[in-house]
Every structure is written in C-alpha cells, then in structure tokens.
Symmetry: C2
Subunit: 642 residues, 2 copies
Amino acid sequence: MPKVVFQIEGSGPVTISCNPGDNLLELARRANVAIDAPCSGNGSCGKCRVKLVEGVLETIPSRHISQEEMEAGWRLSCNCKVVGDCTVFVPDIASAYRSRMKTADLSSPDEIAIFETCQEQLKASGIVFENQYRALVLEMAEPTLDDTMPDNERLTWAIQEALGVEKVEIPFSVMVKLASTLREHHFRVCVKGELKENTFRCMEISGPEDTAIVGCAIDIGTTTVTMVLTDLVTGKLLAKGSSGNGQIRYGADVINRIIEQGREGGKKKLQDAIVKETLNPIIASLCRSANISARSILRLCVAANTTMNHLFVGVDAEPVRMEPYIPSFFGWKGLLAGDLKLPANPLAPVLIAPNIGSYVGGDITAGTLVTTLWDADEMSLFIDLGTNGEIVFGNRDFMMSCACSAGPAFEGGDISCGMRATDGAIEACTIDKETMEPTLTIVGDAGQKPVGICGSGIIDIISELFRCGIINARGLFVREGSRVLRDAHGMGRYLLASAEESETGREVSINEVDIDNFIRAKGAIFSAIDTMLSAVDMTVDCIDRVFVAGGIGSGINMKNSVNIGMLPDVDLSKYQYIGNSSLTGAYAMVMSDRATEKCHELGANMTYLELSTHPGYMDNFVAACFLPHTDASLFPNSVQEM
Amino acid sequence: MPKVVFQIEGSGPVTISCNPGDNLLELARRANVAIDAPCSGNGSCGKCRVKLVEGVLETIPSRHISQEEMEAGWRLSCNCKVVGDCTVFVPDIASAYRSRMKTADLSSPDEIAIFETCQEQLKASGIVFENQYRALVLEMAEPTLDDTMPDNERLTWAIQEALGVEKVEIPFSVMVKLASTLREHHFRVCVKGELKENTFRCMEISGPEDTAIVGCAIDIGTTTVTMVLTDLVTGKLLAKGSSGNGQIRYGADVINRIIEQGREGGKKKLQDAIVKETLNPIIASLCRSANISARSILRLCVAANTTMNHLFVGVDAEPVRMEPYIPSFFGWKGLLAGDLKLPANPLAPVLIAPNIGSYVGGDITAGTLVTTLWDADEMSLFIDLGTNGEIVFGNRDFMMSCACSAGPAFEGGDISCGMRATDGAIEACTIDKETMEPTLTIVGDAGQKPVGICGSGIIDIISELFRCGIINARGLFVREGSRVLRDAHGMGRYLLASAEESETGREVSINEVDIDNFIRAKGAIFSAIDTMLSAVDMTVDCIDRVFVAGGIGSGINMKNSVNIGMLPDVDLSKYQYIGNSSLTGAYAMVMSDRATEKCHELGANMTYLELSTHPGYMDNFVAACFLPHTDASLFPNSVQEM
C-alpha cells in the first residue's frame, strides 16, 4: 500500500497508507489534513493547491496551475491520484479555513457602536433588554450540632429568602459540588441561575467573588463563524472572536455539505467540524480573554442558515435540499449546551434563531430583528450578503423573504485570487482613470502586502474598472496598458499586485472569468430584489430604507455596489450598512427574552418566496448579468466615464 | 519489583507488580481483583481467604485460619505482606460480592403478592396509583410539496391534538432521531413522555409497536441490591433481579466505605462500584429479560440509606459521619438518569426516597410508606433488619425513628460460616432436643448442599440451641454430644454439616464467638426498641402491630426471634413480615406521584432519635446481651426446655 506524507506548513507531518488510485484530496480528508476545497473537489475553484515534494502523482492538468507551477511541483489535490509513495507539502494558505482565530479589539468604538445602536433601536421598538438570569451572593450560617440542616436545604432557604421565590431547583451539576464549594468558601457563595416565575433554577455555584453571568451570541456562517461574549446583566461586550467554519473542507456551499453529511458517519463528521473544531476553541479562547469560567455562560444563541442549524444540532439535513423540502425544524426550543458538550454551563439553553425556509434561516430572522423594519411604516429592504444572498422586504404590515444562490464570490470563492476578509485581503480599491494604477486598502497592519481580494474589494475593483472604461458592460477588458495582461488564449486580467509586490510571491489579479463569476453573483442578488418587488407589485421607488449586512469586508461601498448594478439605484442616504446583523441579532436574543420572543414571531410571520420556481426570476437574472444591467434605466446613477 | 499473580477461580489470572511490603488485600483492590472483605481489612471477619500456590508471603497468624489450613496454603489476604514473587489462588467463594445475579421468578405468587398487597394497602390509605407518563401512538400525514410543515411542528400538532395540551417540549435526544424515526415508520410512531399540567415533554420516539413505558424501582442495600422493572401504566412487574453491592470490597459497613470515598479518587471509585459495576448490569439484564429498550425506562426510584444515597449520587459522604453530621441532602429532587449515565432514558428522573438522618435513610421512609402506619390509629413498630437495624415507631399522630449498629451479622457477616441468602445458605433450622440433630432448610434447588448460614438461619439455630438447652443464656455450650465440638482452647461449636456433608468441603458450624457476635446484634436491635419506647413513655404492651422487613432470608421465624429476645414478646399475630419494604416502597414511588409526595411528607415529619448519645441506651444494650434478656420478665414466652 502506498504511503503519503503530508508536510503541513506550520505543523508536523501526517502519514497515511492508501490504495493505489486514491484521490489525494479525499485522502487528506481521511487523514484529517485540512485543505481548503470550496468546490468540494470538482476541480473548479483551484483552491486545494499542494506541492509535490517527492514521488509521483497521476495528475489531470488544470487551468488553475500554470506550466511553471506544474514544473515546480504545484498540483490541485482534487485532480491527483496516488500511484505510489509520495510526499506533498500543504501550504498554510490552503488551510485558510483554519484562518487564525481573531479576537477583535473590543475597545474599537466601531465594534461597540454596532451593538449599542442595536440595543437603542430595539429598545425604541419596545424590546426591553431583560433576561431571567441572576447571580446571587449568599451568606449562610455555618452548620453546628444545633443547626443540622443539610446543605441543599440550607441553600434553598437562603435563595428563597434572597429572592422571595417559592421553589428552588438544584440540579445534579450543582449538587455534586455543593458540599465542597460551601465549605471551601465558609458558606459564603455565589449562586447563578435562572429565575422563572416562582422558581429559581440553580445552574452554578462558585466562590462569592465570581459573580459573572455571561451570554454567548454565535453567528455560524457557511464560511465564517463569529462570536461575542456579553455580560448578561449589563449587556457589555466581554470578548469577540471569529474563525473560519471548519466544515469548509467538506465543501464551500451548503449543498456539498448536505451531501457529505448524508454519507456514513457524515452527520457526526460535520457536527464535529463545527462544534469541536470551530466553536469550542473560540469559546475557550474568549473565556480566557474575558477571564471567566465556561460554566458562567448561562445562555447561548446561534443564528445560522437552515443547513448550518441542522448540521450544528446533528440532525439529518438531507430533507433541506430534497423534495418535499421538509427540514427537521424551523424553530426549535429545547437544546442545551450539555447536549452538544459545548464548553459552557451544561444546563445553558442554546437558543436557535428560527428558520423560515430551506434557504432562509435564523441568520435572517435575527438580522431582520435588528433592522426593526417590522416596527416601521416605511418599506425596508434588508439584504444579507453571505455565501448565499438573502433578502427581506416589508414593514410592520407584511414581510417577505427569499434567497438567491449568489455563490461564494462575496467571500472570495470562485475568484482566482479571492480570499476571506483576513490579513492581506484587498478590501477597497480606487483606480486612476488615466494611469489605470490602483490604490489599495489592505486588511492588516501597516505594511501588510496583498495576498488576495475579499468581497468588498472585488466590488470596488469591478466598479472602478467599469467606471474607468477598462472593462465593458460584459466585463471584458477593452483598454490595454501595463496593468492589463493577457494570457496565451487572450484572456485579459487586471494586475493588482505583481508577484514581487504580493505577500505570497504569486501575483494578485482579477481576470475575465473572475469578473464573469462575480457578475453572475451580483446579478443573482439584484434579480432577486427585482423579482421580489414585482411579486408585491412594487418598484425600487417604493423602497424607503435599505439595510445591507454581511461579513464581506469591514464595510461595503454602496456607491460602487449601485454602480455595478448589484444594489438598487436609490438615494445613497437610504442605505445603512449594519455589519454582521446575524451576530447582532443573536446578541439581542441572548440578552433579551423579549427579543427572543420577537424573533420567533418574525419567523412565524414572514412569507417565504421560492425564487427558483418563481416565473420571471430567470429572465430577471439574465438581464441583470451586465454592468450595471441590460435595462440601464434602472441605474440612472451608474457611471462609466468615457 | 515483586510480581503477584492472582489465580481467580472461574476466571483468568491477573498479574500485578508491587513494592515489597505491600499488603496483599490492598494489592488485590488495586488490581481490581474482587476479594470479599467485610471488615475492610482489619483481620476481624476472616472472609478474605486466599491460598498461596507458589512463593512466600509474610503472614500474621489468625484465629480464622487453622494450623492445617495454614499448612495447606490458606491465608487471610489482609494479614499478608508481599515479600517476593508469588502466586495466590482466589476462591470464588471469596468473590461473594459478585454473587450470581438473580432474576427472580416473577410467576412466583409470593413475589407478586407482596407488590399487590402493597398497592392495595396504599390505595386503602388514599394513595392513588397514577403517574404522568404516557405512550401515544400517533399517525401523521406524510409531508408533501403542499404540506411542508417541519418535522417538529408536525409532531407537536399531532400531540396537541391527541392530548389537548398547549405546549409540547421536544428535547435534543428526541430531536436528533426525529427525522429518521418518522420516515422509517411512515409517520406512524409512538411518542413517550411526561404530561405535566398543560405541557407534554417528549422523552422518546419509537416505532408504533414499541409502546412500553417502564419504571425501575431500586433498593440499594449496603450489602445487596434488588431491583424491579414495572409497567408504568398497569403496575405489572416485568422483571426482578438482584446482586451483591459491588462496593462491598471497600468494606462491609458504611463507615469503611465513607473512609474509602474520602481518599483521592474515592468518590468516583465508590460510585463506579455501585453504578457501573452493580446497577448497570442488572438494569441491562432486566431489560433483556423483559424485552424492552433501556430508553423506555422513563422513571426510576432509589431507596437506600443515607450513605448509599450519597455514594450513588457521587457527593461527599464524609459529613454523614463527621460532626456536625450535615449530609449534602436528606431529600433531593433533581437527578436524571443521564446525569449518572444509567442505562435508561437520559431524561428519566431518578427519584430518591428521602433520608431522615445520617443513619436513617430513604430505605426506611420508603418502608414506612409501605406499612401505612402513618394512616393508622394503632401504634405500629417497624423494624428493618439490614446491615444496620432501623426502627420506626408511631401512628398517624407521630413517628419516631432510630438506627442501631447491629453489624453485618444478619447478612452473614461477623459469623465464621455466615453468608448471604443465596444458594447453599441454611435459611431455617430445627434441632431435635434429644438427639441434638439438626433439620436444615437450604436455599437452592433440591439436593443443594449447605455452604453457610444466612441471617434467618442464624436466628433459628441460636433459638433452637437455646431451646434445647445446648447453649446457656450467655451463648456458651453446656451440653456435649457428637454435634458439639470443641477446639484446643475449649471453644465450643455446633456442627451443622461436616466437611463431607457440605458443598465446599469445609464444615459448616456455629461457634461461641459467632453466637456472641450475634447476641450483640440482636441486643442492639432490642435495646433500640426498648429505648425508643421509653423515650415516648411507652412499653411493649402499647404495640398494636409489628412490621418486620429485611432481606435476611426468604422469611423470618418470629417465634424464634422473640425466643432469643431480639423482637419484643407480643402476640405473634401482631407480627407481619413484609419482605424488602425498601424495594416495595420504591416501586410505589415510581408508580404513583402521590406515593412520592407522601414519602417526602414522611421524611419531613419523622423525628430522628440519636441512640448513641441517648441516656440509657448503653445500659439497655448490655442488659439485652443475654438469651433472651437479663430481665426475663420482658420475654414471658421465651422457652428453654430443661
């Protein structure tokens, strides 16, 4: 049996035996070697690059690997069959899904402002920020021969006295440490738990100085996971972090992951990838950074799309994609942290923002909650740009939602130099019309060289290329110059950074295939908006407010987004970028019982429009696959400076 | 390092390395070799016999090992130090704690009668036999493209319709198998759960044919564990089983076990011994014999003494024996089967019959429940003969309880040929006054030869020896004959079976030390009764009824018990043997919500009399250490035929 050694950059080697003919990417997965493969191994994304160091691999040539690269040993692992012993180098950049966990600077005013604004807006709409979690410091008489009340009755009495409740519940997890905690702290302790009507349910007992009770809000994106810890009393943010979704090695989109989880042992594999490999390390790291114990986390909330919710809980997601499209749940209350062994109080409820349909999930109900469009007379459009694009339109009288398969372009997928908005990503760009020279804004410290392009950067670049007349309405290069290069087949590309200027030694550029891919993505978004408005007999003129959310960069240039025909051409003052509204919504739910209730109301009241079967959507989509649109009158403010 | 090989009878050899000077019994425990050691290794019980096969052991001589036995290699393992490599044989009889698990014959009318009588008596006292567990067979419409309700909503609706409830809770354990179970059974399923006010809490989902909902009643004795499975709807017994308490290798009495659990890792060790090694195999075996799945067990109830309850839950039991004697709990509601990983539905509550004091536990409240003495005008005495003796006295107006340290004599401990009431135990005996020949009743099939003597047998033998004038009031032999033997020091013994007549090839006899030990035990019981009656200014004449419980044999000869001054000399018609009332009480609790409530009321209302500090108890005890008593007027019906 051939032996394959994976030399993982920044990590030790992993050796695995296999059968001749085994696919190298499959083998890497079996060996738990993380290789980014957004297309799940069908050769289209070009992300699963490895370098052959020793031995041979039977390889199908790929447009993603140049002749020079091929000679240097570079291969797409999905295109390789093992034929004998070999050693391959797995570059860290290929392990992008493990992108360095980031703990955002919580002193950053922007970060805090989003959560503060969310609270204010929700409060203005009648959402009280109150929950039923309490930390009580109790001082009890130490037992004596004349006062021989057992520990649990002593504690019960003290709580009843402190809160005036009738019933006190002491679960197993508290009972087993009750005797030792009381004695260690001389019967002066802190009890944490939930107050519900006339009952206090203990969840934790600790020393009197440890009074933190903490909520954990989690946005599980198909690509990225983001999380905050918050003080359940004050609402203050305690820590924030994010990382890639570990499931990405099973496919960039939900469909590939549903297929994967349907295989033998797949549910556990996908669940482990999100829970054990992704969430648990972030929670642990945030607990350290906030200096709290995991058992102080008394409530969690997850906002995620329908598939992510199913994979997270570990229930079969196959029905999400298969007729008659019956998921296990839209809304479900009943999950506890202990059920999934999350590093939190085992009795902590894990709220799940309710799904609306197979492709409009809890991330959208949570986001809709944040917009407060449900409390306004004005008609609002809410667009969440993720791996899928989801759109909500409505006001206090009605709400409609739909999803379009924009593909992973906004998060850097399907784009040859695409990447997520991490260090080295070009997140904004202007181009000088005369010289065609770009001015780049790059994520990271000063002096960071470019690695690739993230979603917000792609919007800017395409808009600028179009404005400067470098590309035409079809996205083809129509000007020549030192920044415009062409390959042997004549395919044009725009050079953002040469091999020497880049961080990785590989040029960063955008080519006509990338632009075409992106135009389809933006076309999907705009045609979805268009179709939805038509469905309620409205036009873009009816839109009073537009909320744009998504983690495609630290912001999004609305003017450029309109310029390329992605977002409707309404007054820019109507636009509001609300960041990661899924996370903010989860934060609101974890902090406020009323917000949780409201979110479930939204889930129950929102109509779901299935675009794929909707007459007219396909035509709208085709019409939108131009810059800005085949019907230019829809974008009077779009500019191409000739 | 010396190597010790344990050759375990009926099992493979176990080898362990150790340091010179290590105690052999300690070493066996480290190696998980089960050796019965009721005295926990202080050399007094003589039960930890092993046979040296090869090598040498440094040995302290013991009165339990004769010179011949010594020469044949027999040793008390607690008296041996390892000095070099050696091989010892561990006879199966020494592994008595692993006594073959017994599944009682449920067709036995006696077995069933006890539970039926219990139900009738409790019902007559107003205890309704109802609980809130339900199994519902539901038929739902299969989903179609026009009926796209998610699985959990579909199930919720069906339950709401079937029960008219408002709220349905679907926990994680049901959610994860919901999609597959619904589809496998074409949306016709059985849902099991708990109906509480307006809420149905699902606990299990299964195919429509599996409608069993089962309760499990457990009596955890210090020595023996007994268990029944019962149909939660009909109350029918489904299976019954028992085995030794696996903790016995850490000591026969509660004090030794509390000391052991206080050591590093001790809590887990003692908990594993009862949960993993003892309860789990019995539950699994009963489930197989009743042909039900463990997840159908929706409620359990444990009746046990205070220490056993603490060790079972895994909370520190040290406070039970140390001043100021504050246990973690008397009554505690909050334990779930999943907390201890019992093989049952993880959401099944584990009811714990409430303790009253450090030495009067839930077995006694459960037993008191069964007697219905709390509902009568008559004054009742309730005596539970276990490793400890516990006594309750009272009626509907008051109840008082106390415990006396009778020691393990009733269960065969502290008696040279003592054993538990399993196959080969002499459980009854008459002696011919003239010939002094015994007539034995032996536990087991016809032809079973005697192995030893269990509690009920010891009572009979001593009573008969006394009646026949073979022993005097001090328990010393005063007649000679072929059945009365004496050792070199003149100590007398009565031969019940010679080496040839016995099952094991060792004679079965009772000697003066055994009789003395037993007289102390019976003296402890009677003096406790005496003291308690005095404490409420009453005498034996005030007793209207006497309930005797305990697993010391299949029954107990009341006349003989009175004859030796163990039980008060009242009209024998006032006596009722109620078998294992702890188990029957647990059965009532698991079946009936009202019985559970009542048991907690009893726990709260019963007074606890601490005998050890009670003036007069010591004098009463000394006076009771005669046959039948120093004050013979207390036992007018005691007979010694001169």
